[in-house]
């Protein structure tokens, strides 16, 4: 019994995780969350820390309930979602385009790719003042900044994916005299699907971070703006509540994107 189970695990491990392991992970996950929740509540009630810094879980729960009934919350959510969506669309398109240029052209990659590498890890928020000057304080400057951050991630993973294409597949296409258009659509694109989609998924993460961050700096709408507003009122339960909501929404967004692109975490 045990031996046959092990063989199954060994041969199928690549495709499907064994059930018992998934169950174990879930138990550990729930346990950790419970421990944190109980410690938090204990700390809150102990009176050891300032009550407002560690509010009771029940007050946070109540604040979440209240936030979810506010029309303003949905208006801000919509603004932020729209910003992230456009950032992702613009940043990914440009990123794929530039990534293909860098990946396919030895001269281009020699001349420019190291700049992309240098710029990629710089915090995008430092470009925010520039974006405000170019695009104003409205959502356009957040979209531009989000697109910029998404662009680097997608461009680098596309360029990498382009170079890792099995060269013989390109020779196959050429031997069948595929046109450049056919080479692009039927060989390069499908061959790069996985790295490009992974790049887009990572790009979603960076775009989300950047848009929210930019909203907290200077804006008059969006979830980041709402967080700062609540913070300025020192309404700690609502602040924690909103953070939890943002966390969950971003998680759901990532999950949906993962499903759509067929790349799982």
């Amino acid at each position: 019994m045990a031996a046959s189970g092990e063989i199954r695990t060994a041969t199928m491990g690549f495709r499907a995780k064994p059930n018992s392991m998934a169950r174990q992970t879930n138990i550990i996950r729930i346990a950790i969350v419970l421990i944190i929740a109980v410690s938090w509540e204990a700390l809150s009630r102990s009176g050891l820390v300032f009550k407002d810094v560690v509010p009771s879980l029940f007050s946070i729960g109540a604040a979440i309930g209240k936030l979810l009934t506010l029309p303003a919350f949905y208006a801000n959510l919509q603004v932020t979602a729209w910003e992230i969506f456009l950032s992702l669309a613009i940043g990914s398109s440009l990123g794929i385009f530039v990534g293909i240029l860098l990946g396919s052209n030895r001269f281009m990659s020699f001349a420019y790719e190291h700049y992309v590498y240098y710029l990629a890890p710089t915090p995008r928020i430092i470009f925010f003042p520039v974006m405000i000057m170019w695009f104003g304080v409205g959502i356009a400057s957040k979209i531009a900044l989000g697109a910029l951050s998404c662009f680097f991630t997608v461009a680098l993973s596309t360029a990498g994916g382009m170079r890792e294409i099995d060269k013989v597949l390109i020779r196959v296409g050429k031997s069948f005299r595929a046109t450049p258009m056919q080479m692009g659509l039927k060989i390069y694109l499908p061959a790069m699907r996985v790295p490009v989609l992974n790049g887009i998924r990572l790009g979603f993460g960076t775009a989300t971070v950047t848009c929210l961050l930019a909203e907290t700096k200077l804006s008059n709408q969006g979830l980041g703006y709402m967080i700062m507003q609540i913070y300025s009122r020192f309404d700690m339960p609502s602040l924690y509540g909103l953070l939890i909501i943002v966390f969950v929404v971003a998680g759901i967004g990532n999950l949906i994107l993962g499903k759509v692109t067929g790349t799982s975490a």
């Binding site: 099995d166 020779r171 699907r193």
Partner: protein, 284 residues
């Protein structure tokens, strides 16, 4: 026997379809340079089956890529129908030595690929692809993805994919290397059958002597580094030929004769790599 030799005289009267004329290719410059193909010349007549045989590393794949128009920067000429090729020629279909199925396409879609490029209508595409899938013995696997197949099965997908495009000149680089002996013989029969039916000109690159003698009208034996033509052997075994020919006396005769040449070259190749290893060990 007489039938075969009369066929051979008819063939020799016709113009060659593929001419390889003084092809020379060197990789790198200076002391590290490797001459992969050294002034190789031979030609292939319409409908003829020619094999190029030689030890590993002698430049066969390089020659294959040059003939397929995938490698420029060589000297000499490759002529098809008396014209020097510039890039992949429309009469040529290639089967590569490496794993070359598209991992994101099913068996059916892999095989239908060349037809898709030509803009053949979907239903016709599927019909024609299905025919060649059946021919290479993969009926029932149409919907499978390459990763679900064995290496030998994937290689048969590549062969079917090239055959479906109906090339006048078929170039194959060790297409049977990943197959077991039985499948190799049977698939060899299939290839011979199509080749004879369609009167398809075929150039097979191989380092398998049995395979070469079984299938060919002529065998070009290459030397190990630099890759030169050592000898050209005509194989006057009767056609139609099946894998049964393998047990005939004449077959054994050809194998023994070519093996003598080949052994010399192969052992030079082995020595070369042993020396290289020893040199590396001394340095390291």
């Amino acid at each position: 026997m007489t039938e075969a030799s009369s066929a051979a005289t008819v063939a020799s009267a016709t113009q060659p379809q593929l001419v390889i004329d003084n092809v020379f290719k060197q990789f790198g410059e200076g002391p590290g340079a490797v001459i992969a193909v050294d002034n190789v010349s031979f030609d292939v007549k319409p409908g003829e089956f020619v094999s190029v045989i030689g030890p590993s590393g002698c430049g066969k794949s390089t020659l294959f890529n040059i003939i397929g128009g995938l490698l420029d920067e060589y000297s000499g000429n490759v002529m098809i129908e008396r014209e020097r090729i510039a890039g992949p020629h429309k009469a040529v279909g290639m089967v590569f030595q490496e794993e070359s199925t598209f991992p994101w396409r099913s068996v059916m879609d892999n095989v239908a690929f060349p037809l898709e490029l030509q803009g053949v209508a979907k239903s016709e595409r599927l019909d024609r692809a299905a025919h060649f899938i059946d021919l290479v013995g993969l009926k029932g696997f149409e919907k499978r993805m390459p990763f679900e197949l064995s290496g030998g099965m994937r290689q048969r997908v590549s062969i079917a994919r090239t055959l479906v495009s109906g090339p006048q000149i078929l170039l194959m680089d060790e297409p049977f290397a990943a197959l077991d002996e039985q499948t190799r013989l049977l698939l060899g029969d299939k290839i011979t059958q199509i080749q004879q039916e369609l009167h398809q000109t075929t150039l097979l690159i191989t380092h398998n002597l049995t395979e070469a003698v079984q299938l060919s009208d002529r065998i070009v034996v290459m030397t190990y580094r630099p890759g030169k033509v050592k000898r050209v052997v005509n194989i006057d075994l009767p056609r139609p030929r099946t894998s049964d020919v393998v047990s005939s006396d004449a077959f054994g005769h050809y194998v023994a004769e070519i093996w003598a040449d080949l052994r010399e070259e192969a052992s030079r190749g082995m020595q070369d790599s042993e020396n290289m290893q020893r040199g590396r060990a001394r340095r390291g």
